[in-house]
């Protein structure tokens, strides 16, 4: 059980809140203590749009502890339209083949269960394909 950790990360997990650098305006996700672009201190929150495209992906058939129930799942590096890459599972694929460059958008889903009798379930961001009509 890691309740304090899950609580601490909820802004990032539920709302994709990163930072915008007050010095160079670089958009940062996940948040960091120091801006990777200009080395200034970074602490201004910034909510990302959640839109992006698949940069790379793979499929995991046996998940590590906490992810056994989710397996098999597709995991990807998603390039957000604001610039940063994020590691996340893809969801709602419905048999659709994944490819590099595929447009995706963020949704909130169950991401893992901390396996004990109290069964804590953790929610967070995943990405789903953007339908052609909506794109």
């Amino acid at each position: 059980m890691e309740i304090p950790r899950h609580w601490r990360l909820k802004q990032q997990r539920y709302a994709l809140v990163g930072e915008v650098c007050p010095h160079c305006e670089g958009k940062i996700f996940p948040p960091r203590d120091v801006c990777p672009h200009c080395s200034g201190e970074a602490k201004t929150p910034y909510a990302f749009s959640g839109r992006g495209e698949v940069y790379s992906y793979t499929r995991i058939s046996d998940g590590p502890a906490g992810f056994e129930e989710s397996a098999p799942y597709t995991i990807a590096l998603v390039k957000l339209e604001e610039g940063p890459l994020v590691t996340a599972q893809l969801t709602d694929l419905g048999g659709q083949p994944v490819d590099i460059g595929m447009p995706v958008e963020m949704v909130t889903r169950r991401i893992r269960s901390d396996g004990d009798e109290r069964g804590m379930i953790v929610y967070g961001y995943k990405f789903r394909p953007v339908m052609a009509a909506q794109a």
């Binding site: 950790r5 990360l9 990032q12 997990r13 996940p30 990777p36 940069y55 790379s56 992906y57 793979t58 499929r59 995991i60 058939s61 046996d62 998940g63 590590p64 502890a65 906490g66 992810f67 056994e68 989710s70 799942y73 995991i75 990807a76 590096l77 940063p84 890459l85 994020v86 590691t87 996340a88 599972q89 590099i100 991401i111 893992r112 953790v122 967070g124």
Partner: protein, 379 residues
């Protein structure tokens, strides 16, 4: 730099499933062998490279445990962790301690007991070496991370999966002649091509098998060696550790393998050589894509052509099987590389002997080159 740090003794156990051996006993076999081979030198310090004993074996403070277990009580001892590069990190600290002049001798051991736990808990333990908040929490594993790199590499450079076959074919062919290897059987390109997909695009033969293992080297300052052993001494002439972003998604340029490139460049510069001056290269092939990227980082091949370079065979690589054939013993791997390179330089590598080898470059990675550690070894 005038200080000459030499490898006076080496020890290793075959990588594999050692259910009957505990973590400490596994380490002791390698440690005692290295001490004995060096002429029974009592080291002034022990540096234990280890990645996962705290989780898999529920054991911390190996610096005290492993030292005490072989009756080196009172000797300095600490554990060193840098994910898959823990062994090379321990070698680096042993080297620094002697080169600095503070101590005369050090025993460096790399050990992990992969089989102490089973199932999904083991996969979760391995995934601890990723960014826990932002990679592990998405369900990523180290092998899947390599798959993400490999897919992007194949896409960017238009490289087919089959191009990676030489990494596995070379590794298994070499391992067949290595009595300390986990899988002593050669494979064919056809076997590689038809192997089962694991974490796509990685297939079974793209992933080095995990196993229990321990390897050790006894380092000493050449001036402090009272009795010269029967075998030639191998000098450490270059040593470098470089880090990059821990998380793959934070890389500025994912396929540049910057930490690997800089650590190879710095170790070679210290030794006063170019990478092209070495007689063989022990790369880190935890997954085949990492071997390709590492030969590119060394400058042996242009970006996107690492597999072609390995296939050409102009420079011997992973000469005792690499992790692919010898097995991936996690925190042990970097020290196995040092042991194997030492055997090559002494002319003791048997059927895998690189004729006339005088100089080696060994290169160990933590994660997807989040940590890259290079050493130059010379006769």
């Amino acid at each position: 730099m005038n200080s000459e740090v030499v490898i006076a003794g080496v020890g290793q156990v075959p990588v594999g499933e050692h259910y009957h051996l505990s973590l400490r006993s596994l380490a002791a076999k390698a440690m005692l062998a290295a001490i004995h081979e060096a002429g029974d030198i009592r080291p002034q310090a022990v540096f234990a490279g280890n990645m996962l004993a705290g989780t898999l074996s529920r054991q911390s403070n190996l610096g005290a445990l492993l030292t005490d277990n072989i009756n080196l009580r009172g000797v300095e001892g600490t554990t060193v962790e840098a994910a898959g590069a823990s062994g090379a990190a321990a070698l680096r600290l042993g080297y620094l301690a002697i080169a600095s002049g503070y101590i005369d001798s050090a025993l460096v051991v790399g050990v992990d007991k992969y089989t102490d736990s089973v199932g999904a808990d083991v996969d979760a333990a391995l995934a601890q070496t990723l960014d826990s908040d932002y990679e592990l929490m998405a369900g990523l594993t180290p092998v899947a991370q390599a798959a993400l790199v490999m897919r992007r590499y194949m896409h960017t450079y238009n490289v087919a999966h089959e191009a990676f076959a030489p990494v596995a074919v070379n590794g298994h062919a070499r391992a067949a002649n290595n009595p300390n290897a986990m899988f002593r059987k050669a494979i064919t390109v056809e076997q590689y091509r038809s192997a089962e997909d694991q974490v796509s695009p990685l297939n079974l033969y793209d992933i080095a098998p995990y196993g229990d293992g321990a390897a050790a080297v006894l380092l000493i300052h050449s001036d402090k060696l009272e009795k010269k052993p029967d075998h030639p001494l191998v000098r450490i002439t270059g040593s470098s550790v470089v880090t990059d972003t821990l998380a793959l998604h934070d890389r500025q340029e994912m396929l540049a393998w910057y930490a690997a490139a800089f650590s190879i460049e710095r170790a070679c510069r210290q030794a006063g050589i170019m990478p092209q001056d070495v007689d063989f290269f022990e790369y880190d092939d935890a997954c085949s894509i990492y071997a390709a990227l590492s030969v590119e980082a060394a400058g042996f091949a242009r970006r996107g052509t690492g597999c072609e370079f390995i296939a050409a065979g102009s420079l011997p690589v992973a000469t005792m099987g690499g992790q692919k054939g010898r097995g991936n013993s996690l925190g042990g791997s970097g020290v196995y590389q040092a042991v194997e390179a030492t055997l090559q330089l002494r002319g003791q590598a048997g059927k895998n002997q690189v004729p006339g080898a005088k100089r080696a470059l060994i290169h160990n990675l933590g994660g997807a080159a989040a940590t890259a550690i290079s050493h130059v070894l010379e006769l």
